[in-house]
């Protein structure tokens, strides 16, 4: 098992300069095993750059980036473009950076609800499907550190909540550290231990509630997120399972609409409250 105290990755006063401009500066960040750290901030605030410095994909122009030796990382980048010339099925993509058994691949694909897409070419996936496949690929490696750059972009709202719940469950099961990037706090709130709010530098950091109530956060995001959060917290009469089925408040599980389709259309079951 991993020691609970040693940081998996740490940035100390890290900054990156590109084309004569500081993309981000003075970032202090530590991710320990079993901890979910979320980076939030508006577009161009240096979230992805910070994650890349933590990953070692780019070397900071100032400050330090340290990773524990032979750290096993699972990474979901913000953008991956696969064009026509590259023949790549989902199954092959799952094994992109390491050997995996079929059971490991299947388990990860079940977890994000994409097993039925196994033999599909990656380029024909929809945005949401591709994000689920990327997440499945990253977790199939059983990483010690998961770095997720906007992992739910293009995923529908209910699926989004389910995926964040999955990330939290993975943290509990694998004991891995998670560095999560999101542009909105309200959905990730429940699953986050620590939030770092970026805007070219660290504006504020702390527990989600602390950050949501801080003046710096309100100045960046306005008051809307806290209102949305209240809505989210009251919508728990049913749960969408990762494979697309729906678990209702009374414990029954109903099937989804299409027999070979991992998605929910949302209107075939009763929504208790809006």
């Amino acid at each position: 098992m991993l020691k609970q105290t040693d940081p998996l990755v740490s940035l100390t006063g890290a900054g990156l300069k590109s084309g004569g401009r500081w993309l981000v500066r003075g970032v202090d960040l530590v991710v320990r095993p079993g901890e979910i750290v979320t980076l939030i901030g508006p577009n161009g605030s240096g979230k992805s750059t910070t994650a890349k410095m933590a990953l070692g994909v780019v070397r900071p122009s100032e400050g330090k980036a340290e990773r524990s030796p032979s750290l096993r990382i699972g990474y979901v980048p913000q953008r991956v473009a696969i064009d026509w010339v590259l023949p790549l099925t989902v199954d092959r993509f799952m094994r992109l950076t390491g050997k995996l058994s079929q059971a490991e691949v299947d388990a990860a694909m079940d977890a994000t609800g994409v097993r039925h897409l196994r033999n599909t070419e990656v380029r024909v996936l929809s945005g949401g499907e591709f994000q689920r496949v990327m997440l499945a690929r990253a977790i199939a490696r059983k990483p010690a550190l998961l770095v997720l750059d906007e992992p739910v972009q293009g995923v529908d709202f209910n699926g989004e909540i389910a995926l964040y719940e999955l990330i939290r469950k993975l943290r509990d099961d694998l004991g891995c550290g998670v560095l999560l990037i999101s542009h909105d706090l309200h959905v990730v709130m429940a699953a986050t231990d620590r939030v770092i709010c970026l805007n070219g530098h660290v504006c504020c950091q702390g527990t989600p509630t602390m950050v949501a109530e801080s003046d710096a956060y309100k100045k960046l995001f306005g008051r809307r997120p806290s209102a949305a959060l209240a809505v989210y917290e009251h919508s728990h009469d049913h749960t969408h399972l990762p494979d697309g089925r729906v678990k209702h408040a009374d414990g029954t599980v109903t099937d989804h609409c299409h027999p070979d389709d991992g998605h929910h259309h949302g209107h075939e079951h009763e929504h208790g409250k809006g």
Partner: protein
């Protein structure tokens, strides 16, 4: 058997095509066609230097192409250099420089057409040894770096983050491209090496569902083109390189025809994915 020039050409052509196939796949996956062109044009400069210094031509071509590819890798790291313009500049400058140097050496008679378009008559036993020895080495090294190189092709940052060391794989890959150019000159000539790299790979794309399958198919398709092209070259007395490329083009066009069952299957798969997607929306 090796006494017959045509048998030698055939053996050499098949060897080059088999090696070019998998490398060609990476060239089209990574959009490096112009890069391949630049390296092969630089090969003429290599030939000129080899004649000037009286050293082995294949070795000289490899060294010049390899140096150029390293220089390009270094320059590409600097974001302020447009690599498209840079490649165009280097590609044609190297070609022109090679031609000028050759013209200065009045004491050597060079078969320029043979250099530019390939010459089956010129394939010697030594060339075959180079092609098969070198080709085996190239494929062996490619097999070793296959996974990191493929991961880096899909997404460099992903490969880097997950410990695949993509920069090393990229560096080795460009050296392999330089090497395949060095061994392919005699068969297809400097101007058409890129075609031998990319046309069989592009043909294989339509018939494959995975990268490994595509690499093997590209080799087989390239070998077929080499055989067909060389027989055509013999029959109609055409230069070997263009004949092979024309044969490869023929195979590519044939692959567009909706006959192979495999294609039908691929179509069906993407159609059902499309239908499913539409159904979801």
């Amino acid at each position: 058997m090796l006494d017959d020039f045509f048998t030698r050409a055939l053996i050499a052509g098949i060897g080059v095509a088999v090696v070019a196939g998998p490398l060609g796949c990476f060239i089209i996956w990574r959009r490096l066609a112009y890069f391949g062109d630049t390296l092969s044009h630089a090969a003429l400069l290599g030939v000129a230097l080899a004649l000037l210094l009286e050293v082995n031509i294949t070795a000289a071509v490899f060294v010049v192409s390899a140096l150029l590819s390293l220089a390009l890798l270094g320059l590409q790291k600097r974001a302020d250099v447009s690599s498209d313009a840079l490649l165009g500049l280097l590609s044609h400058s190297a070609l022109a420089l090679g031609l000028v140097v050759l013209a200065f050496m009045t004491w050597v008679r060079v078969d320029l057409l043979g250099l530019l378009f390939g010459d089956i008559l010129a394939v010697s036993r030594t060339d075959i040894a180079f092609i098969y020895g070198g080709g085996f080495l190239i494929l062996a090294v490619l097999a070793v770096i296959w996974h990191p190189l493929f991961a880096a092709t899909v997404n460099r940052e992903l490969a880097e983050a997950e410990g695949m060391n993509p920069d090393r794989a990229n560096l080795i890959f460009t050296l392999l491209v330089a090497a395949v150019i060095a061994i392919a000159i005699k068969i297809v000539g400097i101007l058409l090496i890129t075609a031998l790299l990319i046309i069989p790979a592009a043909t294989a794309r339509r018939l494959s569902s995975g990268p490994e399958q595509m690499a093997v198919l590209a080799s087989l398709i390239g070998a077929s083109a080499a055989i067909g092209g060389l027989f055509g070259s013999l029959r109609w007395d055409t230069p070997s390189g263009p004949s092979i490329v024309v044969a490869a083009l023929g195979l590519f066009l044939a692959s567009l025809l909706p006959v192979a069952g495999r294609i039908g299957k691929n179509r069906a798969a993407s159609h059902s994915a499309e239908a499913r997607r539409l159904g979801n929306e």
